[in-house]
Structures are given as C-alpha cells and as structure tokens.
Point group: C2
Chain length 257, copies 2
C-alpha cells in the first residue's frame, strides 16, 4: 500500500490531492399504471418511470439530473443515499441498492467527485401524494425511454443505463418484482410488471411455471381468507383472478443446475 502518511504524528498535513466530494446519486424507478379502457375492465397500461430533478445552479443549470447529494463524514454513503431518497420522494423503507461507482476524471466540472450510484424501487402508491404536489415543479417522473433521450447532466445518462440493466437483470433473477406490486396481486399483474422492466420477457405457460411446478413453489403462494377460501380479485377482469403473495424465499440459481 502506498500510504501517503508515515505515522500518526505527521499525519495532519496531507500532502496529497484529495477528492472534492463523494456524492450519492439515486436512480429512483417506479411503474405507473394508467387505465387503458374506461368502458370495460382491463389491465392497465404500465410504464417504467424514473425520477429526475431540474438543476437550478451551475453546473448543468437548467438540465435534468438524478437526485442525489454529497455524503457527509458522519454517515455511510448508504445512509446519505437513504436521506436523499427520503427528501426527494418522502418515502422510507423502500428497496434501495448500491450498484456502481463513477469516477471518470472530469465527470464533474466542480472538481474531483467520486459518485456512488444507487437504484431504488418505489411502488407508485407511495409516490401518489408526492406526484400531485410536484406536478409542475422541478421534480418529475419521466419514462426511461424519455430520460435516455434527454441531455442529462454529468454522466447521468450512463448511470441511468447501467441502473436499467441492473434492474432488468435482478427482475429476472430475484423477486424484486414485489417492490412494484401490492402485497396481493394476480398472475397477470406480476407478468405485466416483469414485462414493463424486461421488455422482451415472454414466457408461455407462465401461470403454470410460477404456480404448479415444484421447484418454484416457494416463490409465491395463493392468498386465502379467514375461512381458508381462496381469495380472488376482479379489479382488472370480468372473471375473478386468484390473488397471490410473495413468500420470503429467494431461489438460488446456478448454471450447473
């Protein structure tokens, strides 16, 4: 190790250039659902959205950027991201994960900034109040497609792209779909949510695989009412559909089966 300092006594004078900041940036995803057909009951149209804020100051004044902020000495980067997330969305206890660090020289004109990127998955129900309040303000949801076409501040386009790949990967291999769903949901809702994130996701016989195959039985289970009867929902359909919930079970995948 190439320590800049030899011992405790002569420590205080740091001879080396040090970073000018260690920000955390958060890619906040949500899936919005909008009615497709007011006349008949039908599945909603779902879109993957990302929350952006419009910058007020130099640099990149006026441009849209990821929410984030500088971390402080008294907190971990994770805590600082949690704090930012709460400030921007007013929600806590949501799924947030660290996924990469961005340190390309010159990525921030303010100086040597090493940015730590998180993604957060927020259920649209939690953002409802927030969205109404901020509709015309400098905080807005954009579809991922829109966001990637905009000229985002810093290297935030790259960060959004990387975050998208991350959640697409996780959507296929973990149960994070639950973050976008109510606690009780139908198979169609689950399928739709997966497809909203992983655009080319297509599984024929999805219902069967997720429900009746032994190997995956642990992932979800039917919801029953107090009398032990199966609980159904007809929110999106004429014919009532079985409700399911996620179990606390993460299947272990392996390429060597």
């Amino acid at each position: 190790m190439n320590d800049p300092i030899e011992n405790e006594v002569n420590y205080t004078a740091n001879k080396y250039r040090t970073p000018d900041g260690a920000p955390a940036d958060i890619v906040i995803f949500t899936i919005t659902s909008t009615e497709r057909n007011a006349a008949k009951k039908s599945l909603p149209h779902r879109e993957l959205q990302v929350l952006l804020i419009q910058r007020k100051h130099w640099p990149y004044e006026g441009q849209w950027a990821l929410p984030g902020g500088f971390s402080q000495e008294s907190e971990t980067i994770y805590e600082s991201a949690k704090r930012e997330l709460a400030e921007e969305t007013g929600v806590a206890n949501v799924h947030m994960e660290y996924f990469n660090v961005y340190s390309t020289p010159g990525r921030d004109p303010r100086g040597w900034m090493i940015s730590h990127a998180f993604f957060a998955l927020v259920n649209e129900s939690l953002l409802l109040n927030r969205r109404a309040a901020d509709d015309a303000a400098d905080v807005r949801l954009f579809t991922v497609e829109e966001a990637l076409k905009m000229d985002l501040a810093f290297d935030h386009e790259l960060i959004v792209k990387d975050a998208l790949h991350q959640i697409q990967q996780k959507m296929r291999t973990t149960t994070i779909a639950k973050e976008f769903l109510p606690s009780e949901f139908t198979i169609s809702e689950l399928y739709q949510v997966i497809q909203t994130v992983v655009l080319d996701f297509e599984e024929s016989n999805f219902v069967r695989k997720i429900t009746s195959t032994q190997s995956r039985k642990g992932i979800i289970e039917e919801v029953r009412d107090l009398h032990g009867n199966l609980k159904m929902s007809n929110r999106y359909s004429q014919r009532a559909a079985q409700l399911y919930r996620f179990n606390d079970y993460e299947p272990q995948l392996s390429i060597y089966s």
Copy 2:
C-alpha cells in the same frame, strides 16, 4: 441536490468537509493445488487463497491487510485498482470486478476514507514466480479460512467476507470458474474448482449436466486436436479424461424459467 456551490465563480473555496482519500482495496483470490499422493496419479488438493500484505506503518502497523492504495484524480477507481493489482502481483489482464464501497465513519484512523473494494481472480500459474520471490517477505498468500481468523487491519475482515460471498455467488451463476483453470481442463478439475470456492457444492451427474444437456451445451465444449480427434489428458488419472474448454457463452438465468 444540495449543492455546496452556487456558481462557477465562487467555486474554488469549498465550504464543506471533503473526504481525505478514496482508496481501492483488492481481494486477490487464487486457488493453489498441491499433490496429495506422490505414488499414484491423483487429483491435487486445492485451496482458495487470498493475498495479504503486512503493514509497515501506522495505522495497524505490523498487521495484515488487503493490498490497495489511494486513487488519484487522473484515473478512475478501476484504473487505480488495476495499477495496484499489477504492482502487488505482477499480473495484468486478469478478471477484476468492483463489488462494494466501504464508508463507515471511523473505519480508517487517518481520516475520512471511502474505500472501494474489488476482487480479482488470478490463476495460480501466473503467481508462481512471484510466490517464490516473496515467500519470506511481507506479501503472502493465506487460505481464506486463515485470513478470516486473523486480526486484519481496518474493516478488511468484512471486505474479505463480502468478497468471498460475491465469488461464491458468481461461481454458481457465471463462468468465472474459468479464471482458476487452464484453458483446457477436465470435468473433474472444473468440479474441484467449484467445490473449492463453494464448499457445499454437490451435483450428482455433474458430468452429464454440463456436457450432454441441450440447455447448457453452450458453456463448454470438447477439445479436439488437428485431426479432429478428441483430446485427452491423463495428468490426474490412470484412465485418460476428456479435455474441455469454455466457450464465450454466459447462460442467462431466470427464476421464472
């Protein structure tokens, strides 16, 4: 975003406390093989080892720590880790991945240090010269078990643990096993390498699954000589074993099959 600076003009005086350094720490793994039975040909004993260095200066003087060093403004964290890796092991072009950031306040007595942790997988053949030279020096390989029992500097025990979980996970879900193997290897070697990292790995009919099942056919393939004959090896066995190589194919896993 809570920018500390309002515009370019008054930027230079940063009013905020900034980090004292952004080090990169690298958990360098290798698998060593030692003869078990000199009399008869047999599979070697394999052990997962991690490279540590003994610190010469405050803090944690004399204790063992992960190799690493401070990153500079002119390079990405990844580049700085690559540089360190080359300095410690003399190897380049090995598999190295970033996996987490460590920023708990007080983790480094020298100040506010945000550490970026990488793991590297190095084939033992590449370390051979190095190991001979440094055998009695302050750079050594320890088995992971040993390393986790030692009193490592900083939060390096946690970092090693996390790195171990990472490579165990990746060993099951990706083809990183190839980093520990020669380009041509037998099924037993592959199986042994996986077991060395993932201690409870056990697959009956492993040979069949990895070779004759259609769904996984892309991962490895038999090696043939110039005449198209199957290439065998009797390095570890009386009866010659088929040699395989990895294809450039990463299977896509999914919990929804």
